[in-house]
Symmetry: C2
Subunit: 336 residues, 2 copies
């Protein structure tokens, strides 16, 4: 199976915010798979917020993408040629080799997917690390309990939307914030109790106070900045804050778009616990979680939702769109 | 035993920072104790950072001092007249009725002190809630372990000094920050491994990075602001931050003197847990702790250290001095 594959390469590091000119689309020859390798054609790839950091030098807890090399990220694909009898042609696999249409790899770089009746792209989203992040944050880090009030920022984003549905299924009162009418209406449609459109809210603290009534017990933070400030203002004593993402605080060389909270003193007077986590620390739980989430999706407890771009050539724009919050649910790129 | 007692009354709430003019010294008549009451003459009283909040309206987790009424706070005294056979004359007691020379109260408002060989004022400091705060923060909230690196800000303050000694006794590497040469030299003299004079440090992050070598595992925060920023910069992954006080962030109507940290994103990438606590939630452990701390003091593991003012009339100035960081160790007022 000699052929070609297109791939997105890091052309240069961004000097300010990431731009399309930082990426380059290349066509490379794809030889037959070597001994002990299989050839995979990707069906879907994921774009994720953490990729922003990897565009820059010194990305912190992860490694930088390499200039001139294809980017990396989660993808699901199908085996199209094989030298491993355990992975026959047609096998569905999850890999970290997104940003390319096809590749050869040893099976040690692949994770066999058991999708059941579900579409495979769900394993890049709700049943993948996105959903796992929501689950770990709410259940393991915050320890949400029935009847608690949970505030989730960027609630219509990939992680936020799963978090809303897990909290709702747990019998919590859920307050979600999102930017714009479409996202807010979607949140309402899936049963989120109170929705704050932060594009429209004059004071986020005032809006959250009104939405929360007696205060929030848990804050699932995907945003930082002004949202964190409002959550501190409205938190109940002994509230737990899960720090999952801080879009507003930028990353790499990007300046923050929202000032840092000035009311951290409330963490003392209200005895608040704030805890950051990285889903990468929990990847050993991926398979167990995927099986559980599959049953939640089948039962309708969690509804998959993605914003989809078509074709590898649209992947850089999909990533930039993600940083602008253009997605409702998970941002995915369909490669076939 | 009819007599008089002097007391410090809240004359008016501060409009900006607290000032001496907010307080008034009054002399009141002290009738004999009523049935089931005892009369106590205070020996020592404590001034504490939390009292600042109580000068204002809306102090948060505590209640405001009342205008025209005597202030309150921890004090040790001796029973000088009694209608309760369980509290004979001479009994040493701890109460929340500081800021006055003498008072009548039911024994339910008193805690009998077992001082052993120790001076009674130690039970307002190292063996009181000050020491308890250090202990709870390090042991219960942070869970310090032998050989970890612990950074303690305001390390020469009342809580900080006890925290340093508990961490040293636990076999930790201790880094303390303090303002000025005298405090720094004292910290060195009790065995603190590295001392940062934050009056002299150009960049607190750079100074902390140099002091910490491979990074800090625990930050005991008495300050907030720039110190918290530096601690986030230099923290190891999975570091635990104990938020005990944020002097730099002011309180009540006081503006912050140090800007809030702009690098909270590091709490995610480094998986840091920040937890606020109030020693008032742990008062049921006071007696057990006092007994344990007494043995630590007798064995020399913890050395008592206080800055002492003499006479009730100096108590308001002692409180204001505390807010300026004028104290080395616990700030106390001797009333006899």
């Amino acid at each position: 199976m000699t052929g070609v594959s297109r791939q997105v390469v890091l052309h240069e590091r961004p000097t300010g915010a990431p731009a399309l000119s930082n990426f380059r689309l290349e066509t490379v020859e794809l030889p037959p798979p070597a001994e002990n390798q299989v050839q995979v054609r990707n069906l879907w790839m994921s774009v994720d917020p953490y990729m922003r950091r990897r565009l820059y030098d010194d990305p912190g807890y992860t490694t930088s993408f390499v200039i001139g090399q294809p980017l990396e990220g989660a993808a699901v694909g199908r085996v199209t040629a094989t030298n491993d009898p355990g992975y026959p042609i047609g096998t569905l696999v999850l890999s970290g080799l997104g940003w390319r249409e096809a590749f050869n790899a040893p099976v040690s770089a692949l994770n066999r997917l058991k999708i059941g009746d579900l579409p495979p792209e769900v394993f890049l989203a709700e049943a993948g690390t996105t959903g796992l992040a929501a689950y770990i944050g709410l259940v393991r880090i915050a320890g949400i309990k029935t009847k608690e009030t949970i505030f989730i920022s960027a609630a219509a984003g990939a992680v936020g939307l799963v978090a809303c549905q897990i909290a709702l299924a747990q019998g919590c009162t859920v307050i979600g914030s999102a930017g714009g009418l479409e996202k807010c209406e979607y949140l309402t449609s899936i049963g989120v109790h109170r929705v704050i459109d932060y594009h429209a809210a004059r004071s986020l603290s005032a809006a959250l106070r009104e939405a929360a009534g007696s205060g929030i017990d848990v804050y699932f933070d995907n945003v930082g900045g002004e949202h964190l400030q409002a959550a501190l203002d409205v938190a109940n004593t002994f509230a737990r804050f899960v720090l999952c993402g801080m879009i507003s605080q930028g990353s790499g060389r990007i300046a923050a778009s929202s000032p840092p909270p000035t009311n951290l003193l409330l963490a003392i007077t209200k005895r608040i616990r704030l805890q950051g986590f990285i889903v990468g620390d929990y990847l050993s739980e991926t398979d167990t979680f995927a099986a559980e989430m599959s049953s939640w999706i089948k039962s309708g407890r969690v509804k998959p939702k993605a914003t989809t771009k078509i074709g590898l050539e649209s992947a850089p724009a999909a990533l930039l769109d993600l940083f602008r919050g253009a997605n409702l649910g998970k941002m995915l790129v369909r490669l076939t």
